[in-house]
Symmetry: C2
Subunit: 331 residues, 2 copies
């Protein structure tokens, strides 16, 4: 929008530029129309659905909502890669059945260790180092790794329609937040660049740090103390803790986002908006959320969407493109 | 500033208006000059001390920095008043030595119960109810209670020089945050109105909530789970958790703010600013921070301020007014 205005300023008359569609990656279906209608009413003073600027807070899940989560959540891929990177310094890891499974790429076996196994891997790769060291490791990983199927860097794989939606909402005075099960420090490394969202508007799973003085300054060391998993019924809890007010719009893709949508759309003061991204496009992305038991399942959410009038985005029907062709061209 | 510009717009020529001093409640001493110099350099492109807008994050303690903390921290007064308000429904409280001491106004005795006693009082008055109920109780308390010495409502007792400083920093592109030992939910009730700071930029002591569905919506109930006391070495930890980047300016008044100032002023990327409010004015406010053992003591901070070039505000010398005369006139 800024670009458009600038162009118009330079060219004087420019009606075609000025009407460039901010949601051009969306097909002109009911999903897109429901978004536009809500935003138009929310920003029209005097409308019964008007929302004052200081209440226009909207929350977005990340995995499966703003970028893919199949075949493996990207942060889990980071964890696996970190274990492999550090393995030469830790010959003893080969004797550990969980770590051996990771090093052998036997992810099915890794899964048999359940939540406890995941916690152990998180502890190994995301605690013990300083926050600066961790940020550097994450940045290096994003700089060097690519998705196996699409051949793109992970930080170039934002869904283009959702990236446009974030811009569109901000242009209309909304404050955009991420509320994700992903690690808060992990996501903050790329949130500004990928989504235009500053670090303080990223809420995620977290644990507390430990502050200390060093020879030439200060540091915060990551620990697992007070570990908080930002998912399900704890998403509204985290929203209250970090944001301190109830949002007016919530965007998710799985039953882990259900309570966030319930909390948001039960806001008694404003006409709210709820949206679920339904993964139906095996050709351009993945189709995986219909079956119970699959990653990021969407069962209860679909039922409740019908009852409550939430918008369900059918990826295959409603999105013109999935990834930004300039960043991650279709093969 | 906005008002000034508007006035100028209407009156055309208005050089005297345009030069209205945004820090008029400060005497023209070294403290004020150090603030102005840092801000001028931080906002001057090309200056070696320039700070880009998206890094201009500054953090303020609340008790003793933005409003008084003597003779009793205001939130402790709230807790005492809440115990008294609820006592008629709890005849059994009279048999409890701690609660009896509260009801008898025997604060010296209350103090003998130490941290454990305080935790019990916090649990009684700040958990168990929904966040909406709690906010309502806090709002009612601010609406009805006045400070015994000054006769003003607590939410009219912001230090005028600091309130001007917040505005001045925001006008220069800084994002102002509160980082306080006070309860995060408690402060958020009044932060916008008193300081122009929205709820999400208030960091404080917190505990987790519990989300649930109700007959006609959703609720978050306050618990003591994961209780975090935002003071001392945990202030930088909370800043990292909520803000996700290191500030460039820190403003405090006691040794509980020491690590926050250390963390901020050790920011390796920018010319930073540290400031301590020194309570030297028994006539207009209080003089209490010199003696070890008194509330909000400032001993280590004074030493480190000298070594590190932090600004120390001598309230008596450096402030023209303490409270805004329009809100809380001197008697």
């Amino acid at each position: 929008m800024k670009k458009t205005l600038l162009t118009c300023g330079l060219l004087l008359g420019c009606s075609t530029f000025a009407h460039a569609d901010p949601l051009s990656a969306w097909n002109d279906t009911a999903a897109k129309q429901s978004i536009e209608q809500w935003v138009q009413n929310a920003t029209k003073e005097g409308s019964p659905a008007f929302i004052p600027t200081d209440k226009r807070y909207v929350v977005f899940d990340n995995d499966g909502t703003l970028w893919p989560e199949e075949p493996l959540v990207f942060q889990i891929k980071f964890i696996v890669d970190e274990i492999k990177r550090q393995a030469p310094e830790h010959p003893e890891w080969k004797k550990d059945p969980l770590l051996k499974a990771v090093l052998d790429n036997d992810l099915k076996k890794v899964m048999t260790f359940g939540k406890e196994g995941l916690l152990k891997l998180v502890t190994l790769t995301q605690s013990g180092m300083t926050t600066d060291e961790f940020n550097q490791r994450v940045a290096n990983w994003f700089d060097t790794q690519k998705d196996a199927r699409f051949g793109c860097r992970y930080d170039q794989m934002a869904y283009q329609p959702m990236r446009q939606l974030l811009d569109y909402l901000r242009e209309n005075g909304f404050k955009t937040w991420i509320v994700s099960g992903g690690g808060i420090d992990f996501m903050r490394v790329i949130s500004q660049k990928m989504y235009g969202i500053p670090p303080e508007q990223v809420i995620g799973s977290f644990a507390l740090g430990e502050f200390s003085l060093t020879d030439n300054g200060t540091q915060i060391r990551k620990t697992m103390k007070g570990a908080f998993y930002d998912d399900g019924a704890d998403k509204p809890v985290a929203i209250h803790l970090f944001m301190g007010q109830r949002p007016v719009g919530a965007f998710g893709n799985s039953d882990g986002d259900l309570q966030m949508l319930q909390y948001t759309t039960a806001n008694p003061n404003y006409k709210t908006f709820g949206l679920l991204v339904h993964h139906t496009d095996a050709e351009r992305e993945y189709a995986y959320d219909k079956q119970p038991g699959s990653g990021g399942k969407l069962i209860k959410g679909m039922e409740e969407a019908k009852a409550k009038g939430w918008t369900v985005v059918d990826m295959k029907q409603d999105w013109k493109t999935v990834f930004d062709p300039a960043l991650c061209p279709a093969k």
